[in-house]
Amino acid sequence: MSDAVTIILQDRKTGQRRNLSIKVNKEVNIAELAKNVERLTQIPSDELEVVFCGKKLSKSTVMKDLSLTPATQLMFLRSNNNSKLSTKAPIEQRLQTDSSILGSFYVWCKTCDGVKRGKLRVYCQNCSSTSVLVKSEPQNWIDVLKSKRIPVTCEDCCLPDLFAEFKFKCLTCNDLAAALTHVRGNWQLEECCVCDGKEKIVFDLGCNHISCQDCFKDYLLSTLDNFNFINKPPYGFTISCPYPGCNRVVQDVHHFHLMGQSSYSDYQRKATERLIAIDDEGVTCPNVSCGQSFFWEPYDDDGRSQCPDCFYTFCRKCTEKDCVCQSDDDLTRTTIDATTRRCPNCNVATERNGGCSHIHCTSCGLDWCFKCVTEWKEECQWDHWF
């Protein structure tokens, strides 16, 4: 199979810059590609260096391993003999890093609507050129996900103190995609801790308790059922490792896309509602066709708020358009008041249908005593059994 490769040739000897398009077989290596360039330009191929993905490619790298698309540009550099690009790492090690950087990532691809293999690309943070060389290799996820961690030299804008910008793309469709840091290949074919199945792509929250995609998806969906997500700042409402006793959590909500679009939206809406409920100045619009969450202004407050989205105005206490806080003919309200007590933290009506007085609020997570309606204390432990 042969495809056109777009090449930018930067000739430092003459200061010229040329764009080339060469048709090559994907099985050829960089050395052969350089020979092709030599034939077109009469520049000896041993004077050419190839820069891609932040580093100098070794001559034996095979084209198809680069996962190039017609839009990708390869940078060929003809250096001054005096200032040849420094190559510190030996060729063998370089080869290894090449393949691991190109193929060991998984991403959530919106276009493909699924977990896909991803590729990592490196750009100049200043001019977005791909003609950059990293000065140090990224060692972990933080190095690629946070900005200004990896210094580069850019052959295009040549400014000092430049940093790399990393982007992930879907290997299937080439669109930009979100990196999934908790998804990895199951190289040793270990068993899923939930179903004992052996799948190739697994979830691992960094604790080595692996679970297959199907189980992780079911786990997410059942957690969404009664919104058992736990609030863990700075990650927000998240889920812990399915292994008993393990407290590792999912650190990036992109992983929740696995639930499917409608469940993911459901998650977002409910998580927002919960966060708003925790905040004293947060409120959720009771209009059935709205449900927007927002913060109300504490100035000149009359206890009523207007939703900024649908403009529905309501009483924040009883959530009715025409406030019924003062009326006593509301049967539902009387019943709820008679059979429940309110959580001392989030005010949610709570019914106790058995067990001890130790209440764990499923809405805000507070542990409180049903008897004295305050946070659970030592005295409650001893005296407030029933």
């Binding site: 199945g197 058992n228 001890c356």
Partner: protein
């Protein structure tokens, strides 16, 4: 993943695990979701009897926890008259899908062997346990003799 596959595996593992603390692990002939297990606590005042525990698995097991309750009456600060108890690892908030029934049984056994009077479900029994331990032991032993199942030979 189907609940059936995992339950079949767990049932097989439990039957063959050779742990002496529980025996007669069985499921209903026509319903894999309903099990009974005979618990054999090894501490006084419960070590003279066997206690039947019913386990009901939800259809979406293991993503929802099983419901576990005693079918044999037991005199214990943490078990109510209907056989219900609070066991954190099988509550909806704490449940983890990788928790196996064997771990649930071990947690229940340790609750029975070491009562937690600070988290009681029967206040009267907890009070007796703490204030008149002798009387508690006597009542519980008698209760065990009267109500519990026979230990298998």
């Amino acid at each position: 993943m189907s609940a059936t596959r995992r339950l079949q595996k767990e049932l097989g593992d439990l039957k063959n695990c050779g742990v002496k603390a529980y025996e007669n692990v069985e499921c209903e002939e026509t319903n894999l979701l309903k099990w009974t297990v005979l618990l054999l606590p090894d501490k006084e005042p419960y070590n003279k009897g066997a206690f039947k525990v019913g386990i009901t698995f939800p259809v979406d097991y293991p993503f929802k926890p099983p419901k576990v309750a005693f079918e044999t009456k037991i005199y214990h600060p943490n078990v109510d008259e209907e056989g219900k108890f609070c066991l954190p690892i099988v509550t909806a908030e704490n449940w983890k899908p990788a928790t196996k029934t064997e771990q649930v049984m071990m947690a229940l056994l340790s609750l029975i062997n070491e009562p937690e009077p600070s988290h009681p479900i029967r206040a009267d029994v907890a009070e007796e346990f703490q204030k008149d331990h002798k009387k508690f032991m006597k009542t519980a032993e008698e209760h065990t003799r009267k109500h519990s199942e026979k230990r298998p030979e």
